[in-house]
Symmetry: C2
Subunit: 220 residues, 2 copies
DNA sequence: CAGTATCCGATGCGATACTG
DNA sequence: CAGTATCGCATCGGATACTG
């Protein structure tokens, strides 16, 4: 990268940094709480290691990201500087626009179940959860071929933590959700109401009480 | 271009379109009122024709820009669709952030006098102008070598129109402004107040009444 | 885990020339 | 004026392998 537009205009100067492949997604991940190298990669799975390193260095050089030695000795910790935090307004504007105008441009290959379930995980309202562990199993159809290994996933809602599993964690499943991933994405993005899709596009098997409570827990 | 991040996230989908080299600047120009191919090039002088065509086609394909046959027969007219207009929020956020956090990253080579004077032109408050034509001549120092042909420029403030000239228009000059272009840019961007720089960094020769009224006319 | 190093292919893009 | 066409280089970035 390291592009110059030869303009003093603030839009141009900001774009020199931000209008680069992958960069907005990395910033988004840091805003969503990712703080390690692999946290970021989890949220941006298709980026290569080398490019992620390069982008993080650029963002550091521009005073948006800072890297600290992690206390435990191993690895580093990434975080946003005040200038990076100030980008929330930009990312929010981008998200708002994207939500309104890019819905019909979601390709089949964009429907990554892992990103969906990790997104759901972020939304969990811990305070709304009951006092016992709840295990939700997702079984998606319509998953792109490159992501079939995430066709089935588990969301473990615990009192102290919420975990996502790609392999059967062994706990008894309270509720299994089935349906086309596109329909789940539509609900996740707020384009379709949970109650309008539940029972038709989205199918549940298991505890009906939990099925009823789920949209509250996931703040859908 | 035509990149996919493989994510349904609205930030990702918006970035697929907007986080491309030159694209935010083209959108900015359209927002600032540019409507012909060369209007846009004037505001983004370093872009090549071929790339500008390519970007405009991409923006059309994404429903942000529309191209119409111009009435007069010759050429086309570019404009923003409603989806393009909705990008004002994104560009404004970018500008606001850039103004706050990229000031110290303005390079010498970013100080293009033509962009500065065209920017001033846009700001002119036509209603505040007096009833006669005013000719202001700019004579900048510190201009990057590649832009020396714009070292001296004229701004013609007329009742019905405001024009920028690169060559002496022949009219008698009411006021000549001299000084380092960087200082003028600082005032233009609002980082330094006109009244704090006037007389020190910025020098005036000519009608003192006009010098006094100028910041009002240019809304500085 | 969190990178680094190397390679090579794709393509983005600038330069130049041409056109209705 | 508003592009189109072609070319060739530079660099971006993906794949793979290696490392403390």
């Amino acid at each position: 990268m390291s592009v110059s537009y030869g303009q003093f205009c603030p839009v141009a100067k900001a774009s020199e940094i931000l209008a680069a492949r992958w960069t907005p997604l990395i910033v988004r991940e840091l805003m969503e709480g990712a703080c390690s190298f692999n946290d970021i990669r989890r949220g941006v799975p298709l980026i290569s290691r080398a490019v992620l390193v390069a982008r993080l260095r650029e963002l550091q050089a521009h005073g948006i990201v800072e890297r600290r030695q992690r206390a435990g000795g191993a690895g580093h910790q990434y975080g946003l500087t005040p200038a990076g935090e100030a980008l929330r307004a930009v990312v929010a504007a981008l998200a708002q626009w994207g939500l309104t105008y890019t819905q019909d441009r979601i390709n089949h290959s964009d429907l990554d179940p892992a990103l969906l379930v990790w997104g759901l995980r972020r939304r969990v309202d811990m305070k709304a959860l009951p006092d016992r562990r709840i295990v939700v199993r997702f079984d998606f159809s319509g998953v792109p071929a490159s992501r079939t290994k995430f066709r089935i996933m588990w969301l473990i809602l615990g009192r102290s933590s919420v975990d996502v599993c790609m392999k059967d964690p062994g706990f008894p499943v309270d509720l299994t959700l089935r349906g086309n991933i596109r329909d789940y994405v539509d609900v996740y993005l707020g384009q379709v109401r949970w109650k309008d899709a539940a029972g038709t596009a989205l199918h549940f098997e298991g505890d009906r009480q939990i099925a009823k409570a789920l949209p509250r827990w996931l703040q859908l």
